[in-house]
Amino acid sequence: MDDAKLVLLLFSLIVVMFGFIALPSLGKGLLYDIGLLILLLTAVFILAMNWVDAKLFSTITSIFGITFQPAKDYKINKQQNAVIKEVNGIFYTTGFITANLFSYTFKEEAAPEDDEDKMINAPETWERMVMNINFPFKFHVLASGLDVQNIRDELEGKRSYQEFQLSRAMQNNSSETAITDIRRKMSTIQAKIDRISAGEKPIATLMYIETTAIGVSEKASIDALEGQINQLRLSFSSLDVETTRVIGRELYSLFNFNFSIPTDFKQLANMFDQQS
């Protein structure tokens, strides 16, 4: 949770507390009970919004049947999981799934054997997968360089923590496996620090897949999109990828990425914090 969100959460919950203080002004009996119920619902809603805002908000829009027009000729459906465009009576519906293919790894780290095998097999697996897909899709990797000093500080913090863990494990006569595990983590962190010291740029990545389905009606195109998304999820499972359907505000952000991408990392990080 970022600082801004924490401040907002705090202020919103303080207002709920004010509400508790104001409750006696509603008198005793039914009105008091209604007030108490409203307060509890508000508190639960705020806390739920903090963790599952996309699901909660899309449920609200689904219940009330609210749709959006993010730009001329485009529409976001009430479930907030698809962007629809009608051209000459044909409906083009686009959906997104996040698919984090790999976390950026530093090449000097001693990569386990199976990781190297994965790297060798990746081009062929990718080609086989693409050949089996018979509908349009886009695989996007959005990458941004990170602040070297911040990452270095963070890594040094992690290394200090591991050093502390190691000294504690040695004092407590922990098992050899536990000590080796801590040492392995330390050497991985050290390799990253060395790599940054050698001038390598640390980067953050966001990967997502976009697919478009067609239909003669809105419903037909949405149904076709569901089929395509299921097939993509199945196909990408061969690449050992975790996929998540994008809904809500992140769908709106990804729709906008088709026309422009964020120009700094802070902007990008604020947009995606949960589904990706």
Binding site: N121, F257, T263
Partner: protein, 277 residues
């Protein structure tokens, strides 16, 4: 200051004022059934205030429009710059220019040795780390545009049908009629096989954006970023990347360019025919 801060402060303030009214206005002046309504409104505003962190773009139209279909924007999401190589859009007072760079890499894993495959995977890793600024790398599978060919075939079929009708009305000799009918069958078979399935193309490209207070400022910054990336891609893969221009740009932006319209209609009518049969 972020967009949502003003909305958050406004909603929180309104919520606190309403709670203050509930607390401090005596029941003689304000009956309790009105107080509970004010109390509910205060809590709804509080919940909306917290939601504004991510949903300020929706809350404002929700409050103003009171409709089930909310219009967030009625304008085109972008326009193509006069130079035809940049997509522009407005964001507040600024302009955002976006440039698309094509990466012409035509290598297949089937013709690679184990070592080449590892090298290629590492080249992709290095490609992703080329720029410090946010940059998007995309591989796109799209339906080949056979629109003009399909259109040409349809026109030829219509012309041949007219020729057949003319021959019939003029009581033309049977061999002449058979020749035209054979030609018609040939073109129909051709259209049938062309529209039987989609043909796909795979493209890789990079997207980079830049902000400026003027259109030309944003465009030139984006072009500069693009040139830096192009030199990196060129040295990494040994291929000449190029900035995508004109109609080709739309293939990466508009959904209807992913699946061209004639190809689609032909496919849909084919599916319907098959379902009917």
């Amino acid at each position: 200051m972020a967009n949502y801060v003003g909305m958050f402060l406004g909603l929180i303030l309104a919520s606190v004022i309403l709670i203050g009214i509930v607390m401090f206005v005596p029941s003689l002046l304000l009956p309790t059934y009105i107080k509970i309504i004010i109390f509910i409104v205060a809590m709804v505003l509080d919940a909306m205030a917290f939601s504004s962190r991510y949903y300020s773009y929706l809350l404002s139209p929700m409050l103003k429009q009171h409709k089930k279909h909310l219009v967030l924007s009625n304008e085109n999401p972008y326009w193509v710059a006069q130079s035809g190589d940049t997509i522009l859009r407005k964001s507040g007072e600024d302009f955002i220019a976006t440039v698309y760079i094509s990466i012409p890499v035509y290598r297949s894993a089937t013709e690679m040795e184990e070592e080449d495959k590892l090298d290629f995977a590492q080249q992709i890793s290095r490609l992703v780390g080329l720029s410090k600024d946010p940059t998007r790398y995309t591989t796109e599978l799209y339906v080949m545009n056979k629109d003009s060919y399909i259109q040409q075939l349809r026109e030829t079929i219509t012309m041949t049908e007219n020729e057949e009708a003319q021959l019939q009305s003029n009581d033309a000799p049977k061999n002449e009629l058979d020749r035209v009918r054979g030609k018609l069958a040939m073109w129909r078979n051709m259209l049938d096989s062309i529209s039987k399935g989609y043909s796909f193309e795979l493209s890789s490209y990079i997207t980079v954006s830049a902000t400026g207070t003027k259109e030309y400022e944003a465009s030139s910054l984006a072009q500069q970023k693009a040139r830096e990336l192009m030199s990196g891609v060129g040295s990494l893969f040994g291929v000449p990347p190029s900035i995508i221009t004109g109609n080709d740009l739309l293939r990466f932006v508009e959904p209807e360019y992913l699946i061209p319209i004639s190809t689609v209609t032909e496919q849909i009518s084919k599916n319907i025919q098959e379902q009917v049969i």
